[in-house]
């Protein structure tokens, strides 16, 4: 097992290194300097001073080593679109918000997805099953900004108009922007979690259908164990294994994949900065966030893999 874990850690380190290197060279393949993007008001001298100030006049290999060294010290450079605030400072203040949203979505998505998968497997071929298949496919295929818009309009604006008519207050049950109290988190978490619901429901369904045919389930039935105990103790527990495997990938995807929802609901998370940095061509910010996101995703996958290997003895044997 130790060999397996060591191998995984080594692979993760290599992956992160490759991503860092790629981003660096992609960044350098952009023609021009970071200071001569839209405003040509800067004189040649000013640009020369700025280039020296940020070490951009040095040869490429030295810049490269400095960049790698700085990342190890947690320094991603400065963001040109946010008043030259340092990127790591922005990450520090806004990543917790993204993580908060991601965790809420993940909890909702996992619980709802697994339950939906179980229900549809237990009612295989009946209308409930077809319904949940349709829900799952819609969840996969409808882009989150479309779902978000519909919910914002119907639950947010529509409902508050009725509330205002009937109770004559400005109270919003589902506010459509910002990130303040629990009420504010409901719609964004739902929308973000929908993809997880869909993916897990389908996976859980196939996995359950596989388990239901197994001999040990028949044995349990013939022993006279109650239906409920068979479902929860024998079927669900065994069917969960493939679900746990993909969870590592999903954690990374959900926490980092919220940029659309964040900018749509004006949530001050990291994703909003990513979207803004793209539209304002703030390359250091885009690159810094890419590297940060990759480190986070690789790290969470590594963590889940190791945990999985510790928890499930079968994985240890096969590896």
């Amino acid at each position: 097992m130790r060999k397996y874990i060591l191998k995984r850690i080594l692979l993760a380190v290599v992956t992160i290194y490759v991503i860092m290197t790629l981003t660096f060279f992609i960044m350098h393949s952009i023609p021009g300097t970071p200071f001569k993007m839209g405003n040509d008001s800067l004189s040649e001298d000013t640009i020369a001073v700025l280039m020296e100030r940020y070490g951009l006049d040095q040869p490429l290999y030295r810049q490269y080593f400095k960049y790698i060294g700085n990342i190890f010290r947690g320094d991603f450079g400065v963001s040109t679109s946010n008043g030259y605030r340092s990127v790591s400072d922005i990450i520090k203040t806004s990543f917790p918000v993204s993580a908060d949203l991601g965790i809420r979505a993940l909890i909702f998505g996992t619980v709802a997805g697994i339950l939906l998968g179980i229900t549809s497997a237990l009612h295989g071929g009946k209308p409930v099953d077809h319904m949940s298949t349709v829900i799952a496919i819609i969840g996969i295929s409808v882009p989150s900004f479309v779902l978000g818009t519909v919910l914002q309009t119907i639950l947010g604006l529509g409902l508050s108009r009725w509330v205002k008519l009937i109770f004559n207050t400005e109270y919003q049950l589902f506010p459509i922007a910002r990130w303040e109290s629990f009420r504010y988190t409901l719609i964004p978490s739902f929308v973000l979690g929908m993809g997880t619901v869909a993916g897990l429901a389908r996976l859980m369904r196939t996995s359950m259908l596989d388990v239901i045919d197994q001999d040990y389930v028949k044995t349990a039935k013939s022993k006279g164990i109650s239906n409920r105990a068979i479902v929860w103790k024998h079927e669900v527990r065994n069917a969960m294994m493939p679900v746990v495997t993909v969870l590592g990938r999903m954690i990374g995807g959900v926490v980092t994949g919220s940029y659309i929802i964040e900018s749509q609901f004006a949530i001050p998370g990291l994703g909003k900065y990513l979207v803004n940095s793209i539209s304002s061509r703030d390359y250091t910010m885009t690159m810094g966030l890419t590297v940060f996101y990759s480190i986070f995703i690789v790290g969470s996958m590594l963590l889940v893999d190791i945990l999985y290997c510790v928890v499930d003895p079968r994985v240890r044997l096969t590896k």
């Binding site: 290599v14 992956t15 496919i137 793209i278």
Partner: protein, 312 residues
Amino acid sequence: MAITAAVNDKKTFVKDFTRVTRDIEASQKIHRESMTYLQGVVRTLKRNKVAMISLGFIVFLLLVAIFGPMIFPDYEKQDLLHTLQKPGAGHILGTDELGRDVLTRLIRGTRVSLFIGFSAETINLFIGIIYGGIAGFIGGKVDNIMMRIVEVLMSIPQTLVMILMLTILKRGVVTLIFSLTITGWIGLARLVRGQVLALRENEYVVAAKVLGASKKDILFGHLIPNAVGPIIVNYTMSIPGAIGAEAGLSYLGLGISVPEASWGNMLQFGASQFPASLWLFFAPAVLFALAMLAFNLFGDGLRDALDPKMRK
């Protein structure tokens, strides 16, 4: 009682039955037509109504994508006197903020979106088959190295790759397809490798080797054709993923930009006008959702049809 009586009286027993002469030809006649694997798959698929309706819809979309823009070519034509018109007689699906006909744009968008989906995934298909096939077939050290590379690439989130590529390269259909293929082939390569690893121990591969078939012939003539089922299913299911990715990028302003039409940018614009101009949102949203459903359900049906265990 009647039975015992009949058994006791042997003569009556025999009299009740007549001997049938054995007709060897008739007894060996095969009544059910023999069926190849492919015929069986097609039969199972034809019985699956959902899959057939989905296939019909996909064919319809393809026809619209190919011939639609020839019949309705004016997707860029603006009519500033008739902006944001509701669906009616002149414009069946209404007009957008610059007076462009929504139906015409939707037809054009079908072509662009399907083109992105199909070409990106077809490129991924080829890269995946070649990479996965070689890794699985050669095996050993080569396989080890090739799979480590895949694992590294797999950890890079696809959306981030796409965002990076589209920020630094010229935005457009070609860049979009290119960025979809950078990491998009990995799933297929892994699938093909797994299939090839499982298949290459079969007797027919040994037979081909003994008969002196070259490695290339064994890989592309024997192994890949036998793995074609799961590959096609994967291909069908990944097309909606590519189309959806374009829609997601449109929200960031990185997708196909106007005046060119795509499902993604029509959805994005429709969502921004929701609920004031409902038709701008519902026209692309309904078509998009139906297309996604069709690809996924057809893929499901195809998987069931290709699975011998599901045969009846």
